[in-house]
Amino acid sequence: MNRRLSAAITAGVILAVILAIYIGGTFLPESALRADFSQKGLPPSASHIFGTDFLGRDMFTRTVKGLSISLVIGAAASVISAFIALAVGVTAAMGRGWVDHAVNWFIDVFMSVPHTVLIILISVALARGVKGMLVGVAVTHWVGLARIIRGEVMQIRGRQYIAASRRFGKSPLWIARKHILPHMVPQFFVGLILLFPHAIMHESGLTFLGFGLPPEQPAIGIILSESMKYISGGAVWLAFFPGLSLVVLVLLIDKLGNTIRYLLEPREAQL
């Protein structure tokens, strides 16, 4: 089996896991999260692999539900963020000198602000909830990718076929659409996927701190902050398994991003 095939299989497996979490969580019947007082506060066992909480709800079910919400928000936030990055990056590279300077200056300013604080501010200003979280993560995470895209565009801009197009009298917009954007596809996708775990961590982290999703959402951050009440009483499984699942999911998506980069640009990426 060559490396390309194994990479493809890895990507497929990870995608399948992510899809399973998404489908499992999204189509979970309401009744699966009902209290069952005959099962309350049980440590992990064969019938409840993550244990149960103090309302008798299965922690594995709750975790899957929470992760599926994180996936949706993470996906939406990183897609928005990636498109912002693409627009800004291409504009900077294709525009005149002062446009590039202005955009770069703006990116520097943006990067100098601790973005977690910025997300909290934005989220709170938008009354928190899914909207606050989405906008907060989306508008703070495009800067890195925007820089990369700007760099790539600058490189391509110097190529001869671009110069030729220009001589033929094509407009910058036409050149950007026909010659530059297609080259950006790999960076764009890989950047998007690598934003994904970041967005998920922010969603959970801020929700945990009480600045994110409202408490009625069965989000992973809510599960973790709830569990803090019981850790001192010894019920560590309430935090450990959901927390670990979140970390594993984040690492899986990270791996997926790197694998896809390898598949798209085998010469530049390493596995």
Partner: protein, 573 residues
């Protein structure tokens, strides 16, 4: 190379997991320290009492070492409320610092009897419009000045015009002093007036100013020695107190609002007594501490809008009414379908008793408000009212309307959540009505509570609570008393009669009839605007040897009700 990467990845995973558990956000360094501290509790150590010595003007705070030396006179209390204002005339009322720092004309004993305090005797005229209080002459404020009748007049007059006062004194016509007597004339009879008087602290006229709330001086058993915003306050015995000198000379109240913080504080011996929850009480034991279980009238129930949707909007413009819960048969069916004993065991580990009204066990309670669980009757009510399960999903419908409503609770209140979920399980299983239990932030609750069921808690030592809850005059106001929009001419009649009765005793039959008069009433046998569920026990970790005296049946709120009799506490030798 690959193996090293794997090891690094595993290490990274572990680090991430650990840092996640330690309340870090994705990007650790920029996590706001304040936020993580307040939210987790685990990472925020209990503010050690000794930390306050720097701000305490050289006064050393209680030592949290847990030494049980002979004749201990100090107590450290893990508390959930640190007032920022101790002005008795603009804040407070029942269930606060009032009985600790201030004298009241009359007080309530542990059996809810009205007993003398600052007034050694009082008389009520035959028409019950004139109350005459004779003050004791040995009472002094903690600054040494005697408590005069003019201070009482001043306090009442100030409170009548103050904004934010929690006691409604509209019934008062005039307050006047003559020597050692204070005469209060009422515009109309008011049976609860003497209970109102028991909640009014007397402030010194000669010291009263705008910042009196930060520098309070009273004539009660304790005086405020120190106060640190949101952290702690310290009471010391008032040597000039006219009553029996308290054995606890110094009480340190430390802010700890989280259940886990309270548990850790007790486990590490930092507090002598602190609150806890039914879950933690059932799953923990602490060496050197016992679990204090106090019975309460702190009832939890689901309040249900009794008017249909489209019944207009509330004062703040929120749409009122609910088409499902406006059917009285459906409300009663829910009430009868719940096995409350089971609910107490299931949801609160037995630390609760069944609740049937907002005032179970109080003198003005109607014992006929008790209902037996009767699932057959509940089903029949629904069948007769046209609620049947036509599509076989286990939930009844009527004319296309599903018997399914959300039930909101304040997110984070685990007792309310568990109780509501337990009730919802029983209701769905027994009668096919779905209650979807949903947590909500307090700011959002205000908007939906006039149109959706929610879990509320009541319980006070004053029957006027029933008046506020059920009298039609409060419909449409966006306050906690009337989200259900209940009003009935019959009940209004009883409530008015009760309030206008000439004495507490005379009012009792009316209060009881308002609950159930044989045909109607506010109880679950009658119009059933509230599905009462449980009276939740108040639970505390108490250090062995601390005697907390004989406590009055606890009203709503576990903090102030515990310390109301602090002057009777002592350490057993």
């Amino acid at each position: 190379m690959k193996r090293i990467r794997k090891i690094i990845a595993a290490a990274a995973a572990l680090t991430l997991a650990v840092s996640l558990l330690a309340a870090s956000v994705g990007c650790g360094p920029s996590a706001p320290p304040d936020a993580s501290e307040t939210q987790t509790g685990v990472s925020s150590p209990v503010p050690a009492p000794s930390a306050s010595t720097t701000t305490g003007g050289g006064e050393s705070a209680a030592t949290p070492d847990g030494d049980t030396t002979a004749a201990k006179t100090e107590v450290t209390i893990g508390f959930t409320s640190i007032p920022s204002n101790y002005d008795p005339l603009t804040t407070g009322g029942h269930g606060s610092y009032m009985s600790l720092i201030y004298s009241t004309l009359v007080a309530l004993d542990s059996d809810v009897n009205v007993v003398p305090d600052l007034a050694e005797a009082w008389e009520v005229s035959d028409d019950t419009l004139t109350y005459t209080f004779r003050l004791r002459t040995d009472a002094r404020f903690s600054d040494g000045e005697p408590v005069k009748a003019s201070d009482v007049v001043f306090s009442f007059n100030t409170m009548m015009t103050a904004e934010g006062a929690e006691i409604d004194l509209n019934a008062i016509d005039s307050v006047s002093a003559d020597g050692d007597t204070v005469t209060i004339k009422l515009k109309q009879p008011r049976s609860t007036f003497i209970l109102d008087v028991a909640g009014i602290g007397i402030a010194p006229e000669h010291l009263y100013s705008d910042d009196f709330g930060q520098n309070p001086i009273g004539s009660g058993p304790y005086k405020l020695a120190q106060y640190d915003v949101d952290q702690q306050f310290i009471l010391e015995a008032n040597e000039l107190y006219y009553g029996k000198a308290p054995q606890i000379k110094r009480a340190v109240f430390i802010m700890m609002s989280d259940e886990d913080t309270q548990l850790i504080a007790a486990k590490s011996g930092q507090v002598d007594i602190t609150l806890t929850s039914a879950t933690l009480a059932a799953t923990n034991t602490i060496d050197g501490y016992n679990l204090l279980v106090e019975k309460t009238v702190d009832n939890m129930g689901i309040v249900m809008p009794v008017i249909p949707a489209g019944s207009g909007t509330s004062a703040l413009g929120n749409p009122m009414g609910n088409d499902v819960t406006s059917d009285v048969n459906l409300r009663k069916a829910i009430a009868y379908a719940i096995d409350r004993e089971k609910l107490c065991r299931d949801a609160l580990n037995g630390y609760a008793t069944p609740a049937y009204s907002e005032n179970d066990g109080m003198p003005w309670w109607n014992p006929e408000s008790v209902i037996e669980t009767d699932v057959e009757y509940a089903r029949k009510l629904l069948d007769d009212a046209g609620w049947t399960d036509t599509d076989g999903d286990g939930i009844r419908e009527k004319n296309g309307l599903k018997a399914s409503v959300p039930v909101y609770y304040f997110a984070g209140d685990t007792a309310r959540q568990a109780t509501a979920m337990g009730a919802a399980n029983q209701v769905l299983e027994n009668i096919g009505v779905e209650l979807v239990v949903t947590g909500l932030g307090e700011e959002d609750v205000m908007k939906i509570m006039v149109s959706q069921p929610m879990v509320l808690a009541w319980g006070s030592a004053n029957p006027i609570t029933s008046y506020y809850l059920y009298h039609s005059s409060s419909v449409g106001k966006d306050d906690w008393y009337d989200p259900e929009s209940f009003g009935s001419p019959v009940v209004d009649g009883y409530l008015d009669a009760a309030l206008n009765a000439t004495s507490l005793e005379e009012a009792i039959p009316y209060w009881q009839k308002a609950q159930w008069d044989g045909t109607t009433g506010t109880s679950m046998r009658g119009e059933c605007p509230y599905i009462f569920l449980v009276n939740k026990d108040h639970l505390y970790w108490r250090r062995d040897g601390l005697n907390t005296g004989e406590q009055m049946i606890h009203a709503h709120g576990a903090a102030w009700t515990l310390v109301a009799n602090l002057k009777d506490w002592y350490w057993e030798s």
